[in-house]
């Protein structure tokens, strides 16, 4: 094997890479709001609880996708245990109801694109007169295995993008992949430094990204969100890598609030800007992406401590949209079934 050929090297996994897994009749979901203090998994037993962990941002990004897929497994299991013989029609209605509830959980992530896969598999089972309880779980599990393999492959691609001597700025958190690529790059004897923005108001950059990069042995420096311009102007970074929550047909994408201004800065300072995407043509351009506006109290207070004294308003858009012309290169994975 070539010194830098890591095709067959096992990739060390971050807990954020696969933060939700089914164990018996319970879905265990990593509570990302408690990291780095502790690794705690929330027990989710039904759709309502699944929607709650998504809305309360206990899980986000790829974790939402996993929760959605596996909530259908939960519900199918639940129906099976509630009644010995459930008519297919009732089971199908349960799947539709589950999809509907998940689709309404948060507006920006393309939940409907994910849940529609499961609804389609259920329809196929009915058309082919196959037991939904057998066919749909088989499809979901097979699909997730495929996604896992493609994500691991993308980790290798990210490691290829990382070059010896790079100094990389990242924002929010990309669910394990960047940290795992950092570990792989280190195995490839590449020296790479990372700057992580703290990512107000939930601090995903401080709590998740800095934590998992360090856990993977990477060299990481935390900066305030407002220092992104400073590190670029002072030539402290030479590459930006971020994730994305939703992509459009024209290459625009939505990601955690703050990504747009980093992209504009990178363009101004001629720094290559990479984005991990899950390409989709369901939405034409970024102007059509619904951006979630969250409760301003999540911004105005932190653990019940007010940010400023007095009564002020707050405005908290959860995401922003980056136009495709600001992207140097996409690092995509195909999420089609």
């Amino acid at each position: 094997m070539n010194k830098r050929d890591t095709t067959n090297v096992d990739i060390k996994e971050s807990p954020l890479f696969w933060p939700a897994r089914l164990k018996g009749s319970v879905l265990l979901v990593l509570d990302e709001t408690l990291i780095p203090q502790k690794l705690h998994y929330i027990k989710v037993k039904n759709t309502k609880q699944a929607v709650d962990v998504i809305r309360q941002m206990k899980t986000r990004a790829f974790g939402q996708f996993l929760v959605v897929m596996q909530t259908f497994l939960l519900e199918i299991n639940n129906v099976g245990t509630e009644q010995c013989s459930v008519p297919t029609g009732i089971l199908f209605k349960r799947i539709i109801k589950t999809a509907d509830a998940l689709n309404k959980s948060r507006p920006t992530f393309p939940f409907e694109e994910v849940t529609s896969l499961v609804v389609r598999w259920a329809q196929q089972a009915i058309e082919q007169n196959i037991d939904i309880r057998v066919f749909v779980p088989k499809c979901i599990n097979g699909y997730l295995q495929g996604i896992r393999a493609r994500r691991l492959e993308r980790v290798r691609k990210i490691a290829d993008v990382l070059k010896d001597g790079d100094s990389v700025l990242t924002h929010c958190n990309v669910s394990g992949e960047l940290a795992m690529a950092a570990h792989l790059a280190k195995k490839q004897s590449k020296r790479v430094h990372f700057f992580a923005t703290e990512t107000r108001p939930y601090f995903q950059g401080s709590k998740l990204t800095a934590w998992e990069l360090r856990r993977m042995g990477a060299d990481v420096t935390l900066i305030a969100d407002n220092a992104a311009g400073s590190v670029m102007a002072d030539k402290l970074i030479n590459k930006v890598i971020v994730g994305s929550d939703r992509s459009c047909a024209n290459g625009d994408f939505a990601n955690k609030i703050g990504t747009y201004q980093i992209a504009v800065l990178a363009n101004e300072f001629q720094i290559p800007f990479y984005v991990l995407t899950q390409p989709s043509d369901k939405i034409k351009t970024g102007k059509d992406i619904p951006v979630e506006i969250r409760n301003p109290q999540e911004l105005l207070t932190y653990l019940k401590k007010k940010i400023v004294s007095g009564v002020v308003s707050g405005f908290y858009p959860g995401f922003d949209v980056v136009p495709h012309e600001l992207v140097t290169e996409e690092i995509p994975i195909d999420v089609r079934a």
């Binding site: 401080s206 360090r214 990481v220 800065l265 932190y302 405005f315 922003d320």
Partner: protein, 180 residues
């Protein structure tokens, strides 16, 4: 605005958030830094919905001082985090940006960290940046502890580094006018 996870549509297919954004489109004044209080005297009393104040991490002094001065004048501003300025520009909400500077010369101005982000965004979106005097001089650099804590609560993991610039140079190409 008080919406939480606002998704309910009105008869025109708009959420409360959409209506709020419609109301402030093209009229937002973005404020960043610790200003000499007298500059706020030019602002007419009102609901303040168009005055957006940046937090100013790590000390949050920018938010604290600007909000205090505006509230004293019976104006209720809107607070945003430092990473939200881009959203306002992208949605064409911003009319102009005000920055507090502690030094200015023919090459540019020494402003609080975050000013470069606003300057670059304003350039892209054709909004003017006005520079006003700051009420005090800032240290050039903070400590790692400043970024590892928020309101006295630890937010960072162990064994990482922190880099905490507190001021940055804003070249004159990003400045429309020095005022005050």
């Amino acid at each position: 605005m008080t919406c939480a996870l606002e998704t309910q549509l009105n008869e025109n297919g708009k959420t409360a958030s959409d209506l709020f954004l419609d109301d402030v489109r093209g009229s937002v004044i973005l404020l960043h830094g610790v200003f000499e209080p007298s500059i706020f005297d030019v602002i007419e009393p009102g609901d303040g919905s168009e005055l957006f104040v940046m937090e100013g991490r790590p000390s949050l002094e920018s938010a604290a001082s600007t909000c205090r001065e505006l509230l004293r004048r019976k104006i209720k501003p809107t607070l945003i985090a430092d990473n939200m300025a881009g959203f306002l520009f992208y949605r064409n909400l911003v009319k102009e940006a005000w920055l507090a500077c502690q030094t200015v010369d023919e090459q540019g101005a020494l402003c609080p960290v975050g000013s470069l982000i606003i300057g670059v965004l304003a350039k892209r979106h054709n909004a003017p940046v006005y520079v006003y005097p700051a009420s005090k001089e800032s240290r050039a650099m903070g400590t790692q502890k400043d970024i590892f804590y928020f309101k006295g609560i630890k937010v960072a993991p162990q064994n990482i580094k922190g880099y905490v610039p507190l001021v940055e140079w804003l070249p004159k190409k990003y400045i429309a006018e020095v005022r005050g």
